[in-house]
Structures are given as structure tokens and as C-alpha cells.
């Protein structure tokens, strides 16, 4: 089964969960006075659930137009050769983004950002650290200045124990 049908199936499952919440659990919390209202907070989600399941089923069961695979555009990803792409690097970057989210508070903005930029570039194969580290430091510093001083949004620059 092609990936898009799996997604359609997952979407139908999501609709079922969503619909269960809308049809069976939400209305219990509604105060009686609001129950006289013609429209409840759950009305719209209920309509969406029904529509979602119908459309999901249509996607799931529509036959694929033939000859669809003929043109694979330059630069798009062909799923059947997924192994040929740098999937590892992409996953590594995603992990790095999660790490950034977790270290932003404890390490401070400057530490986390410089770390993210340096490790990200290293992961992608950059080895010229004498260029990379100054670029990361300058970028992190100037963006911190821009956000903190120009836009006036507070960003803690240093690790928590320093300030």
C-alpha cells in the first residue's frame, strides 16, 4: 500500500479519536444553561468528524491514475530509493533541534545557538572550524542583540546559574 493511503488510514483513525471526544466526552462538561443553545462547542467538531471520515475513505479507495509515476521531477524525493538520500543527516538535525529546545533554558541563548549552528554544520560535513566557529559566534551574538535590544523581547543570553 502506498504511503498516501497509509496516511489516509491514519487520518481516519485520527478522525475516530477526535470524533469520540466530540460525540461522547465533550458535552458532559457543558453547563445545562448552554445546552439550550442551538450550537454547542461540539457541533462544529462533529460535522468535521463526519466530513473527515468521508474524505479519508475517498482518498483511501480512489484508484491511482495510471502513468502517474512517469515524471519524477528533478530534486523531488523518490520514496522507493529512500536509502540513497542523506536520511541520517536529516534525522540528526531533527535530534539536534530537539536538543536545542531542551538546552535553550539551561545553557542560555548564546551557548545553545552556537552549539546548534556548529554541530549542525559539522553534521552536514563542514570541517573548517576556523571559519565555522567565528561565523556561529557572530551570528548568535548579532541575533541576540537584534532580538533583545531592537525588538525588546527578553532572551536569556547566559546559562541560568550565571544570572
Amino acid at each position: 500500500m502506498a504511503l498516501d493511503r497509509w496516511i489516509a488510514l491514519a487520518f481516519i483513525a485520527l478522525c475516530c479519536v477526535y470524533g469520540y471526544a466530540a460525540f461522547f466526552t465533550m458535552d458532559d462538561l457543558l453547563p445545562p444553561i448552554l445546552q439550550r443553545n442551538p450550537v454547542w462547542p461540539s457541533t462544529f467538531p462533529k460535522i468535521l468528524t463526519v466530513m473527515g471520515i468521508v474524505v479519508g475513505l475517498i482518498v483511501l479507495f480512489t484508484p491511482k491514475p495510471s502513468g502517474d509515476k512517469a515524471e519524477i521531477k528533478d530534486g523531488t524525493i523518490d520514496l522507493s530509493r529512500l536509502g540513497d538520500y542523506h536520511v541520517g543527516q536529516a534525522i540528526g538535525l531533527l535530534v539536534l533541534m530537539v536538543a536545542y529546545a531542551l538546552t535553550l533554558r539551561p545553557f542560555g541563548f548564546l551557548g545553545a545557538t552556537i552549539g546548534f549552528l556548529v554541530f549542525g554544520a559539522t553534521l552536514l560535513g563542514e570541517r573548517r572550524f576556523h571559519v565555522l566557529i567565528p561565523v556561529a559566534v557572530i551570528a548568535a551574538g548579532s541575533i541576540w542583540y537584534l532580538v533583545q535590544e531592537v525588538l525588546g523581547i527578553f532572551l536569556r543570553p547566559w546559562p541560568g546559574f550565571l544570572m
Binding site: 504511503l3 462547542p41 467538531p45 491514475p65 528533478d74 533541534m97 545557538t113 523581547i153
Partner: protein, 504 residues
């Protein structure tokens, strides 16, 4: 109209706003050239900055500058590298790249700049004429009609998604609508679908969602497939002059395509991508004999047509946004979100309540187009240099900007985890060829759709408004037709699928 223009002039022509126009155009051009970063991603990245400015006029001026800049920048990489940065400039590469290969890169860039300028300027004039008329009609609309109109907009977006994509686009729209219901609803202050999580109380942040849907998957695609960012050497750019004969031959093309592109841009869901492809196709069919043969091999008409059309369509897409408050494309949907964050509600009341915003945007369109022309013609050779930034530097920075964008909106690092999570989901959806723009539009329109639906239900004590208000009924029938007709035709024809599903 004249007093509106004066109002706009006085609001837009302040030193600060002029700096905003210039800055927006420059940033848009620079980032738009990078393959994969379309106007949607760039505007999403710029939103925290725009909101930080605080003044809606200046913010909208900045963002629309970024928008034109991005479309223009996208054409630069299409022409020089055959690597369109934006879906809307794919058609530009058809004839632009062959011209560059023949050593006419300078001329091609000049034609692109002039055609963009003309398309954008004529589009702005048309916007000035049509928007006030449309918004006075729109004042007659009640919540029932608004509800129906938004349904029409959403189904039009799905309908224009391309053959074989309608059901998928519809599915994404519904997913977007569902995500819009998370958090406290407007009808009652009851938290819905939050699963007891405090972070979801106010719903998903639209900036995070925009970043996760567009910028993040694009960056991951660049990582996975380096060929996507195929960087070549920019080479020498010489001979930027256009001869008189050439100017005469492209003038009618520019005239036709400005108008056609504008009206396609007005239609919800069509946008710059469709306008540019359609513009190219129409001009190729109109051209005679030898000129038609030339298309695809470096025809100046074939270059001017999509370039004019996509810029005119960008301007056209502001019409439904500013007059009805309904975004017609992913980009205007992001603009709408930014405006709401700045406490401006686009819609028919915008012209009466805050006319300075409306007119300042129109004036800034003229200024922006002029700035693009003046700024970019001499800078073309230098601009191309940005394409030589190694991807090892580029990609971490793109990712960092997406992280920053969503962090600054909420000042909360949970938001970053949500961003990564949705980014992964969006990447998988992209793998399976699901269009993501409908999801974002559904998400943004969802709250408004539900508000108007709820209000209509309360006024008519139930579903009666569907039958009692003829206009509502007509609009809903139209929406149904929009969805069913293409599917029906696709079913009958079952021809090859088009690949133009990407939003602009």
C-alpha cells in the same frame, strides 16, 4: 479614491516605512533566491519581526515587500541555475534558463525585472479600482454568508489543487480545520481537545504551524537530496540591454498577462503558480509560427509572460484578503495571521475602520515595485553570489531561523518541540504528495468559520439559515460544485496527473 490615495501616501511615505519597504524587498530577494525557500517560508520567518514592530501599517508594508521580493528573487535562481526557489517561478525557468545558457543571462534578468515591475504595478492599479467596489458589496454580507463564503474559499483551494489531488487537498483542509478547534473555542470558553495540557489551552500557534509546514520540510528535503540545491557557478553576466524591437514584442504580452494574472490571483486558491503556468500556456498558444517554435528554447515572450503573471497574481491575491478577510493562498493566509496578531481584522470593515492601512499597502506596492526595479537591476551580478553559500552553512541557519521564529512568538521551549513534531509530520505528508497549503489555510480560517457558523446558528435557531438566506444557499451549492466537478471530470478523463499542486 483620490483622498484615499493621499491618505495612503501620508501613511506610507514616512522615513520608517520607506526603510521597511526597502528592507522587505532586499530580504525577500535574498532569501527568495535560495532554492526551496518560497515566500511562504520567508514571510513566516519574518512574522516575529513584523509583530515586533507593532504598527500594523509598517508591518504589512514590510511583509508585502518581502512577498514581492521573494517572487522576484525566485526568478533569479530559476534563470541562473534552473533551480526555481518558488513554485510560482517554475515557468520562468522554461525560457529563462535556456536564455542564460545562450549567454543572455543579463538580458533575461532584465526582462524578468521589467516584467515583474509592470505586472506588479498594473496589478496594484487594478487592486485600487476593484477592492473598494468589492468591499462595499461585502458589507451586505451577514455571518451566514461569511460562513458560506469561507466554505467556498476552502473548497476552491481544494479544487484548484490539480487533477487527482482534490480529495487529498480536501483532507488536508479538514485536518487544518480540526487543528483549529484545539484550545478554547470562541463560542464558549470551554477548552477543547487539549488533553489537559496547559500548553494547548490557547491552541496551536499559527507561526509554529507555518514554520513546521513549509520551512522545516523544505530544509530537510535540501539535506536529504543535495541535488535539489544544485549550485552552479553564476558566471559572467553581461549584456543587460533590451533592444527596441524586443521591447515592442514583449509589451503586449506584459499588458495581457498583467490583467489575466491579476484576475487569476483574485480567485481563491489559484495564486501565482497557476497564473504563471496559465500565462505561459496562453502566450504560447497565441504566438504565431516561428515565435511559437522559440518557446522553451529561450523566447523572451515566454520569459516575460510568467514573470508578469506571477507578480500580478501576487497583487491580485490581496483583493480577497483585504476586502473579505479570506486568504486565497498560503502566503496571504500567513499575512492574515500576522494582521490578526497586530489587532487588525482584514475584511470589508477595514476600508472604513482603518483606511490608512489599506491605502498605505497599495502605495507601498508601487514603492516596492519601484524599489525592486531600481535596487535589483544594478545589483543582479552581486545578488547571484548568495547562491554560492555552502549548504553546510545555509541549512543550519535556515533551521535556526525556524526555531527562533516559533520561540519568539511564544517564549516557550515546548513550542520548539511542537515545531519539530509537526515538522516531521509535514515532511511525511510531503513525501506522500499531500499539499500543505490547504492545511494552513484551513487552520487559519477554522476559527472564523466556526465563529460565523455559530453566530448564524444562533440567529436562526438551528440550520434554518441554510435555506432562508438564498445567497448562503447559492454559495454553498457553488462550493459543492467546485469540489465535485473537478473530481467528476478527472474520473471521466483519467488523464495524467498534473504536478502543480504546490502552493505559492
Amino acid at each position: 479614491m483620490l483622498e484615499g490615495l493621499m491618505l495612503g501616501l501620508s501613511a506610507a511615505v514616512t522615513p520608517f516605512n520607506l526603510i521597511m519597504v526597502v528592507m522587505g524587498c532586499v530580504i525577500g530577494t535574498l532569501i527568495g533566491m535560495l532554492p526551496g525557500l518560497g515566500p511562504m517560508s520567508i514571510i513566516a520567518i519574518m512574522i516575529p519581526v513584523a509583530i515586533g514592530i507593532g504598527d500594523p501599517t509598517a508591518a504589512l508594508i514590510l511583509l508585502s515587500g518581502v512577498y514581492y521580493g521573494a517572487i522576484f528573487g525566485g526568478s533569479t535562481s530559476s534563470i541562473l541555475l534552473n533551480a526555481p526557489g518558488v513554485a510560482g517561478t517554475v515557468a520562468t525557468a522554461f525560457d529563462g534558463y535556456p536564455m542564460a545558457r545562450k549567454g543572455q543571462a543579463g538580458k533575461a534578468l532584465t526582462i524578468a525585472a521589467v516584467a515583474s515591475f509592470a505586472g506588479g504595478t498594473i496589478g496594484a492599479i487594478l487592486l485600487m479600482i476593484f477592492a473598494p467596489a468589492l468591499s462595499s458589496v461585502a458589507l451586505l454580507f451577514h455571518s451566514a454568508e461569511y460562513f458560506a463564503l469561507m466554505v467556498v474559499g476552502l473548497s476552491a483551494i481544494a479544487a484548484f489543487a490539480g487533477t487527482g489531488q482534490v480529495a487529498k487537498a480536501l483532507m488536508m483542509t479538514i485536518l487544518g480545520l480540526m487543528m483549529g478547534t484545539v484550545g478554547e473555542g470562541a463560542l464558549s470558553n470551554m477548552p477543547r481537545f487539549t488533553f489537559g495540557m496547559m500548553e494547548l489551552q490557547s491552541g496551536f500557534s499559527f507561526i509554529t504551524l507555518a514554520m513546521a509546514m513549509f520551512a522545516l520540510p523544505e530544509a530537510l528535503f535540501l539535506v536529504m537530496n543535495p541535488a535539489r540545491a544544485a549550485t552552479g557557478d553564476s558566471g559572467k553576466i553581461t549584456g543587460m540591454r533590451i533592444t527596441g524591437a524586443e521591447a515592442r514584442s514583449i509589451a503586449p504580452v506584459i499588458g495581457r498577462q498583467s490583467i489575466q494574472g491579476f484576475f487569476i490571483g483574485v480567485l481563491p486558491g489559484a495564486g501565482a503558480t497557476i497564473a504563471s503556468f496559465l500565462g505561459y500556456a496562453v502566450e504560447r498558444n497565441i504566438a504565431k509560427g516561428a515565435e511559437q517554435e522559440e518557446f522553451g528554447k529561450g523566447s523572451i515572450k515566454g520569459l516575460a509572460a510568467p514573470e508578469t503573471a506571477n507578480n500580478a497574481a501576487c497583487t491580485g491575491s490581496f483583493v480577497p484578503l483585504l476586502t473579505l478577510g479570506i486568504p486565497g493562498s498560503g502566503t496571504t493566509a500567513i499575512l492574515l495571521g500576522a494582521l490578526l496578531a497586530l489587532n487588525v481584522t482584514p475584511g470589508p470593515r477595514l476600508m472604513t475602520d482603518e483606511p490608512q492601512v489599506f491605502w498605505a499597502v497599495i502605495i507601498s506596492m508601487y514603492i516596492g515595485n519601484l524599489v525592486l526595479l531600481i535596487l535589483n537591476l544594478p545589483l543582479i551580478p552581486y545578488i547571484a553570489k548568495i547562491l554560492t553559500i555552502p549548504r553546510t552553512f545555509l541549512i543550519p541557519f535556515i533551521l535556526f531561523f525556524t526555531l527562533m521564529g516559533s520561540y519568539l512568538g511564544q517564549n516557550n521551549s515546548t513550542e520548539l518541540l511542537i515545531l519539530v513534531g509537526f515538522g516531521v509530520i509535514a515532511t511525511i505528508l510531503r513525501f506522500a504528495d499531500y499539499p500543505l497549503a490547504p492545511l494552513l489555510i484551513g487552520f487559519i480560517l477554522g476559527t472564523m468559520l466556526e465563529d460565523n457558523f455559530g453566530r448564524a446558528m444562533q440567529l436562526y435557531r438551528g440550520f434554518g439559515f441554510l435555506l432562508e438566506r438564498p445567497m448562503t444557499l447559492a454559495l454553498l451549492v457553488l462550493a459543492a460544485l467546485l469540489v465535485v466537478l473537478p473530481s467528476f471530470r478527472a474520473y471521466r478523463a483519467r488523464r495524467r496527473a498534473e504536478g502543480v499542486a504546490d502552493g505559492d
